[in-house]
Amino acid sequence: MKSTMKFSRLAIALVSASISYSALAQNTDLGEPVAEGGDVEAADVAGSDEEDDGGLVFTVTDDTDYSDVGIAIPAFATDRDQPTPANSGGTGALGQEVARVITANLRNNGLFKPTGPDSLPSPRFQQITAPSWSTWGSRGAEMLVQGYVTARADGKLVVGCYLYDVALQDELIRDGWVVRPADWRRAAHKCSDLIYARLTGESPFFDSRIAYIAETGPKDNRVKRLAVMDSDGANHRFLTLGSATALTPRYSPDYSKILYLSYVDGNPRIYVYDIGRGSQTLVTENKSPTLAPRWSPDGQHILFSMAVNGNTDIYRVPVTGGRITRLTDTPGIDIGGSYSPDGSKIVFESDRSGTQQCYVMNADGSNQRRITFFGGRCATPEWSPRGDQIAFTRIAGDFNVAVMSPNGRNLRVLTNGWQDEAPTWAPNGRIIQFFRTSRNSGKSNLWQVDLTGQNERRLPTPVDASDPAWGPIRP
């Protein structure tokens, strides 16, 4: 951060008039800065007497096994109903909302069979650590999620989350968090993640955000705005005003910045948008169009494509600015690079063979080799955060989202829309979001699908949507 500011001050000093004018001009399409949430602190939570044995309750072989597990999620209790800015009904009503958010998370992702607080009795505060086993046993729930919400003297909220196995009458795991009232949903997502991770053995993903492009207007004059939201669609914000077309955003690994393409100066250029400051800078001062921005996994470098005299190649630049390094140099279009999670390799698309195909190279540009030979075309490759898969747009007649091994083998097609495009991975590498465009109307929406291809659903957004980019799990 410090060096970024230093760099921009230096630039202003060097070319004062033109740069400071363009710095203003390039911010003309930006909305008000978004207040970012505070940190989530861990909280000590009291447990039941039983020790956590730490083992999995059952073996998970694929997503269909645990999708049948019934989970009761009654309202979170409170020690005494207190007013809180998080809910006009106080901490008691907030406890109901927290349980609803957790229920929706688990249900909407095709995981488990959750039953929410609106059709369940509400446990008392004292029962959170001592469940009424007979009540839950008779309801046929295999798992029970209980918790509490209390308001501290400083106004912050303490949220405790407990997962019980009803048949074993045993606590499986518990955790707690201290959050600002405005961040209460993050505690619900942390609890969802705790349950999901404990029951599936997978890494968490609910406490994460999504950047995307919000679309309105007719097909030949679409208004495209940069927008962000939580993984469940809550806390939605528009970041640009829509006077300039915005495309292809990518959250930085620490959520402090968003790379995206904007036509704000009339030309397609990549900007680094600083969320806290509400301002943006060009990724590189250059006359040529810059396209397809991507972060390196450590957030220290930006990968992008630049079209020089019509020939597009992939380049890398430090996030603090400075010298750009060219990574590809073949005639044709090389674009859409995506780093492996360890940062050692880059998968990208190139039409150097005549059609769009996917290639892998070392991070320094060496050892470029084609990995797709399936007969169709390979576009928009995205390396899974787990490293074991590459998702891409498979073009073979229609456009579908598919995955393959990093060597190009084991191709599996996950979707079957007319035009499904631009996959982005959940932080745990188990779910993929993409956008689906309708034939003729050109309207597009965000969808997600899990790796089985079975649990597919549309994500609700206030207006039409495209170019989703899922950020990492939040600390």
Binding site: T248, G266, L291, I333, A422, R439, S466
Partner: protein, 173 residues
């Protein structure tokens, strides 16, 4: 005066090499420096008789359909009909050497967004390079890709896609 003489000479030379008798204007357009009063902007409803040089309308009146060239799927080569259109454009820009313009590159919707941005840029450059080869100075031409973001034909049909795979020359006012 000197300017219009040069323009006339350029026209003759272009016509001589490009066999364009059919495209030769029947009457010479007004010299570039005409009335300063109330030149209609391109957004004004078509009133063909008053559009002056430097307006998109005047350009369109002069070259007709040839302001736009079209491409095959995923291609960016200049075919014979593109070449004829670009020759008509080159003729016009030779006539009005002070004009600058943008070649906007577009694609159809049947491609991924980022690739299409690069493909539109490639098409715009293909048209630009051809114009340069016909004698239009490169520093008069800027390129701009919209990828698949600005279709003119809105259906999802082969006919619509063919109309959208284009490079359109647009005067800079």
């Amino acid at each position: 005066m000197n300017k219009s003489l040069t323009t006339a000479m350029l026209m003759v030379s272009v016509c001589a090499t490009a066999a364009c008798s059919r495209q030769a204007p029947e009457e010479l357009p007004a010299a570039p420096t005409t009335t300063t009063a109330a030149t209609p902007t391109p957004s004004v409803a078509p009133t063909t008789s008053v559009a002056g040089p430097g307006t998109q309308e005047h350009f369109r009146n002069a070259v007709g359909q040839s302001t736009v060239v079209y491409f095959d799927t995923d291609r960016f080569n200049i075919d014979s009909s593109d070449a004829a259109a670009l020759q008509a454009q080159a003729q016009y820009f030779a006539q009005y050497p002070s004009l600058t313009f943008t070649v906007e590159g577009h694609t159809d919707e049947r491609g991924t967004r980022e690739y299409n941005l690069a493909l539109g840029e490639r098409r715009a450059n293909a048209a630009k390079n051809y114009l340069v080869s016909l004698g239009v100075s490169a520093d008069r031409i800027t390129t701009l890709s919209y990828g698949k973001e600005r279709p003119t034909a809105l259906a999802s049909t082969a006919e619509a896609w063919a109309q959208n795979r284009r490079a359109a020359s647009v005067l800079i006012n």
